[in-house]
């Protein structure tokens, strides 16, 4: 279409490329500012590149808050992420297989119910859930954040159902003739074929749990249990000391895993969104 580098080609790339840089400029600015001394970040905001690069912000930020280093917050978050991710992948794939492949009475009803749950604002159940978890004595533990993951997540169930439906039923039937039971069909036929979708589920599970703020703010009280999101929020509350450098540096630290996973597994992320309309 634009093989010759015509003026149109230049205009197109100038426009689109320029807009892309404009969109990403704040992130680049955040990154560059994290290498500037705190007291010069806003004075020199006009120039992107630091005059002299310093790493002290990272060392300063890593010390963390209240005697807990940032490593503690990362570890806390990682534990929640892993437990949640395993739960969501296992439960959502079992449930999705049930909906996509098995015939049982009330399937349509439960599927419709799941689609409604998909659209239900979480705020509606926030207060009663909090009350129930507090009665169970689960406050200030990661249970309220992780246990529900083992009961399926509508978004992921929907994504996997869509995907399983594209697998030809002849495969199941052949397996039945070979004497496979239902669970064997699930584990030997369907699971291996849906691994790309499971990767998508795992990646989004990671993103949502890593970024989550409201849940941890509600359920975790002691700073030693804080997640990275809560730690950043703490940095912000202490902003009066204007240690922007450390705050920016730790902000970058929390973004690194997100970027890394995206660039490694980009294909699954893009396909997941394009085919199912997952919100990013």
């Amino acid at each position: 279409m634009m093989k010759l580098k015509s003026p149109k080609w230049w205009l197109y790339h100038l426009l689109v490329g320029g807009f892309a840089i404009l969109m990403l400029y704040p992130v680049i600015w955040l990154l560059m500012s994290s290498f500037k001394p705190s007291d010069t970040i806003f004075v020199t905001a006009k120039s992107l590149i630091p005059d002299n690069w310093i790493w002290t912000n990272y060392a300063e930020g890593w010390k963390g808050i209240g005697g807990n280093s940032f490593g503690v917050f990362i570890r806390n978050t990682a534990i929640i992420v892993v437990i949640t991710l395993i739960g969501q992948v296992i439960s959502s794939s079992l449930i999705a297989f049930g909906f996509a492949r098995l015939n049982f009475k009330g399937r349509g009803f439960w599927f419709a119910l799941m689609m409604v749950t998909l659209m239900l604002p979480g705020e509606v159940v926030m207060v009663p859930q909090y009350i129930v978890f507090s009665k169970l004595d689960w406050l200030n533990s990661i249970k309220p954040l992780t246990v529900p993951a083992y009961f399926g997540t509508p978004f992921f169930i929907f994504l996997l159902v869509q995907f399983i439906r594209t697998i030809p039923r002849e495969l199941d039937e052949a397996a039945i003739i070979d004497g496979c039971g239902t669970f064997k069909i699930f584990s030997k036929i369907i699971l291996p074929l849906i691994t790309p979708s499971l990767a998508t589920v795992a990646i989004f599970s990671f993103y949502w749990t890593w970024d989550a703020l409201l849940g941890p703010v509600l359920y975790l009280n002691s700073p030693s249990k804080y997640t990275v999101s809560m730690a950043l929020n703490m940095f912000l509350s202490n902003e009066t000391v204007s240690n922007w450098g450390a705050m920016f540096a730790m902000s970058i630290v929390t973004l690194i895993p997100v970027f890394l996973i995206f660039f490694i597994f980009q294909r699954y992320v893009v396909e997941g969104i394009s085919t199912s309309g997952l919100k990013g």
């Binding site: 892309a20 969109m23 449930i95 159940v125 912000l236 309309g277």
Partner: protein
């Protein structure tokens, strides 16, 4: 002899088949429920029972420490007649949703159309434009946004360079709300990816036929692209509206948990959180949650009900 065989076969059909079919159906039902049981249990425990509880609590005065006290409709009456902050949060949220969602979707659609070419750089651009969506929900980005729009932030530096008077984004409730709306629009990437996938599904022959008939680019956009994309637009509009209604993190971080300045960023979820978990008015917060549920439900119904006028489904059933 042959009649006997036939008779036996008939008997076999009548007596044995139905039983095995029935037991097979029972077994199928059991297996089906075994697989979806996590959802069924989770739905009852984490959705249905809490929703019913929430409805009950909305008619009570409850602070988590004493038993709930039945007060009838008082929470709802107070919300609409005696709580100006509630109206403010409703107003702010409606502006946020009705400015932010179309803003985001229009940018997403425009960029998707720009990227729907054969250019080799499309993959790169797609990635770059998606990145804000990828990180947009994080606290780190909210902190970044807060500083980008700060008094000495780069937005004001640019405004100053362009000769436009600088804006004190935190000094004025309207400006602060627009800061949130810009943040929502900035994350157009995921919608853009969905639109791109939709655009790829439109057969090239439609455009070729239209060009032959002399339709210009604008006509092609309104007569082919928009109708063909309308189911995707519908889906996006519904999901984005719901999630915009629930926005919490950016308002919480950017206003440092207050909803300020002058309640300018007091989004519904944030006010609900403050009522429930800062002031411990859990009954009141539950009533707020129910009104939110009703609003979101009505909005979704309106979007779906009007969809038959603007959503074009292919008779073939699409993909």
């Amino acid at each position: 002899m042959s009649t006997r065989v036939v008779k036996e076969n008939v008997e076999a059909n009548i007596t044995i088949r139905p039983v095995s079919k029935r037991s097979r159906a029972i077994k199928e039902n059991l297996t089906g429920y075994a697989f979806i049981s996590p959802f069924v249990i989770g739905f009852l425990a984490f959705t249905l029972i809490p929703i019913v509880m929430s409805l009950y609590l909305s008619f009570t005065n409850y602070n988590l420490f004493a038993a709930p006290k039945w007060i009838g409709l008082d929470n709802y009456v107070k919300m609409f007649t005696a709580d100006p902050r509630y109206w403010q949060s409703l107003k702010v949220t409606i502006i946020y949703v009705f400015a932010g969602v179309p803003f985001r979707l229009i940018v997403a659609l425009l960029i998707a159309i720009l990227l729907n070419t054969a250019s080799k750089a499309v993959g790169l651009y797609r990635t770059l434009f998606y990145l804000p969506s990828l990180i947009g929900g994080s606290v780190a980005v909210a902190i970044m946004w807060r500083n980008v729009f700060g008094d000495q932030g780069i937005v004001n530096i640019v405004l100053d360079m362009l000769g436009i008077p600088v804006v004190r984004w935190f000094g004025n409730p309207t400006a602060a709300l627009w800061m949130l709306i810009f943040l929502a629009a900035w994350q157009f990437g995921s919608s853009m990816l969905i639109f791109l996938a939709g655009l790829k599904g439109i057969p090239k022959s439609y455009y070729e036929a239209a060009s032959v008939d002399g339709a210009n680019g604008l006509q092609q956009f309104f007569k082919i692209t928009l109708p063909m994309l309308s189911p995707v637009i519908l889906f996006n509009t519904v999901m984005q509206t719901i999630s915009a209604f629930m926005t919490f993190v950016p308002a919480f971080i950017i206003s440092k948990g207050t909803g300020g300045p002058l309640d300018g960023t007091l989004l519904y979820s944030l006010y609900l959180y403050l009522q429930g978990f800062e002031f411990f008015n859990m009954g009141y917060a539950s009533a707020m949650a129910w009104i939110m549920l009703i609003i979101v439900g009505i909005l979704t119904l309106i979007i779906f009900a009007t969809s038959k006028f603007w959503v074009h489904y292919e008779s073939e059933g699409g993909r």
